[in-house]
């Protein structure tokens, strides 16, 4: 493997390794589509998430790799499992022939997928033939520290250049939480299991402080190292989910009430908008960072990068509280028949 630090755009990872990983990603995706058993499909999807995280980490995009690993392999799989246990299992409709090849069974999806793949390949070819790739990235790599004072270029793009988009993304999570709560709150009986065995409870208690510390470090150092509010908030939500599973939902609700989750989520959104309004009041525009009242600080120290630390905190509060309340709303109607 060639060393990092030479000219940009050159491959950092050996191509055969990447090709092998891409092949495995395609294989797991195909397995997830064509398996009859839904649970095995979930496991295959989870493996695909891990492989994609590996590819992102190899291609030097650790922020995306973190998100991919946490969201796709952890949260999405657990949400799918809850949804699976909540839905009725309907048998296959009889008019579909089980003996046919898969592309004959699903003609229209196969057609759509083929068309989409052709379009994407066409776009890729035109990109490769035309202007050189990587002009925007080299601009951001050289200008980010001067413009924002943050060391993490991806975090700076998300929270400074594209902060308004990030506000929109957090609003999407708010909409998802509202929808799930609305759908699942219909006056059902709240069951709570007693959780798993004593060994797992004690082990979880041993690990929880370290997971919380990790989440806090991802959020607070988001402008310096890979990570940020979204990733750290997802790790916080993972802690809440683990508590639901290990100790039972009743315990989780008694420790972190859903009222306080709502308060934290709304507080995160309010903090984000408030920081934006400070920039507006200063005359630098909505969500202005260095053009507003925020100072760049020493590069590499905790208090640097202007408002990015506060914005990471706001996004972390919002994502952590939002994802954990989605999971709580979904799992609280499960009956876990496990004795103490």
């Amino acid at each position: 493997m060639p060393q990092a630090g030479h000219d940009e755009g050159a491959p950092v990872v050996s191509t055969p390794l990447l090709a092998l990983l891409y092949g495995f990603i395609l294989l797991t995706a195909a397995v997830a589509v064509f398996l009859e058993d839904l649970l095995s499909s979930f496991i295959s999807l989870s493996v695909m998430g891990v492989l994609m995280a590996t590819v992102f980490a190899l291609l030097r995009a650790p922020d995306v790799a973190l998100t991919q690993a946490i969201i796709n392999s952890g949260l999405v799989t657990s949400l799918l499992l809850v949804a699976y246990s909540q839905t009725r299992k309907t048998p296959r409709p009889p008019e579909i022939c089980a003996e046919c090849a898969p592309w004959l069974r699903w003609r229209i999806p196969a057609l759509v997928c083929g068309l989409l793949a052709a379009l994407l390949f066409r776009g890729f070819l035109s990109l490769a033939a035309g202007r050189p790739l990587g002009t925007a990235s080299s601009h951001f790599l050289s200008a980010t520290l001067r413009d924002t004072g943050g060391m993490n270029v991806v975090g700076a793009i998300l929270l400074d250049y594209r902060a308004f988009d990030t506000l929109g993304e957090t609003t999407v999570i708010f909409a998802a939480v509202s929808g799930v709560s609305l759908l699942l709150s219909g006056g059902r009986q709240v069951h709570s299991g007693y959780g798993l065995s004593f060994i797992v409870k004690r082990g979880m208690a041993l690990l929880t402080p370290f997971i919380l510390l990790y989440a806090a470090s991802i959020i607070l150092l988001g402008h310096l190292t890979p990570g940020g509010g979204f990733q750290g908030g997802s790790v916080f939500a993972t802690v809440a989910i683990l508590m639901c599973v290990v100790y039972g939902t009743g315990f989780e609700a008694s420790r972190i009430s859903s009222k306080s989750k709502e308060t934290l989520e709304a507080g995160g959104a309010l903090l984000f908008v408030f920081i934006g309004l400070i920039g507006l009041a200063w005359g630098g525009g909505f969500l202005a960072n260095l053009a507003g009242p925020f100072f760049p600080g020493t590069p590499g120290s905790l208090f640097s990068g202007g408002n990015m630390l506060l914005l990471n905190l706001a996004v972390g509060l919002k994502v952590g509280a939002g994802l954990s309340s989605i999971f709580y709303a979904m799992i609280k109607i499960l009956e876990l028949e496990d004795e103490p």
């Binding site: 798993l196 065995s197 060994i199 797992v200 082990g203 979880m204 041993l206 690990l207 370290f210 496990d338």
Partner: protein, 102 residues
């Protein structure tokens, strides 16, 4: 002991970890029921993962990197038996032996 010998030991650990992971895959595919398969799959992490992490220690190049690897190995050593125990207990409570699915 010279540096090359330490690296050779690291490589040996990684080879052992690969062997354990391979053996775990064979066990999951070939063993007859839930509990024996669980017994095999636990080796993928507690044998394979930890050995590979220990073998990667001489190749990190910094003390902080090596410490991180040791912490991850410790995390595996705590969490993997816990997870296997939880799965085995859930299988026993739901009487997975009474309906052999494979």
């Amino acid at each position: 002991m010279t540096w090359a010998a330490v690296r050779f030991l690291g490589g040996l650990c990684i080879a052992g970890g690969v062997f354990f992971s391979f053996a775990a895959v064979v066990a999951i595919l070939r063993f007859p029921d839930v509990y024996t398969r669980l017994h095999g799959s636990a080796k993928a992490l507690s044998g394979g993962g930890i050995l590979i992490l220990l073998g990667a220690l001489p190749f990190t190049g910094s003390i902080s990197g090596a410490l991180k690897l040791l912490l991850i190995a410790l995390f595996f050593a705590v969490s993997n038996p816990m997870a296997s125990h939880a799965i085995a207990r859930a299988c026993r409570r739901r009487d997975m032996m009474k309906e052999p699915r494979w």
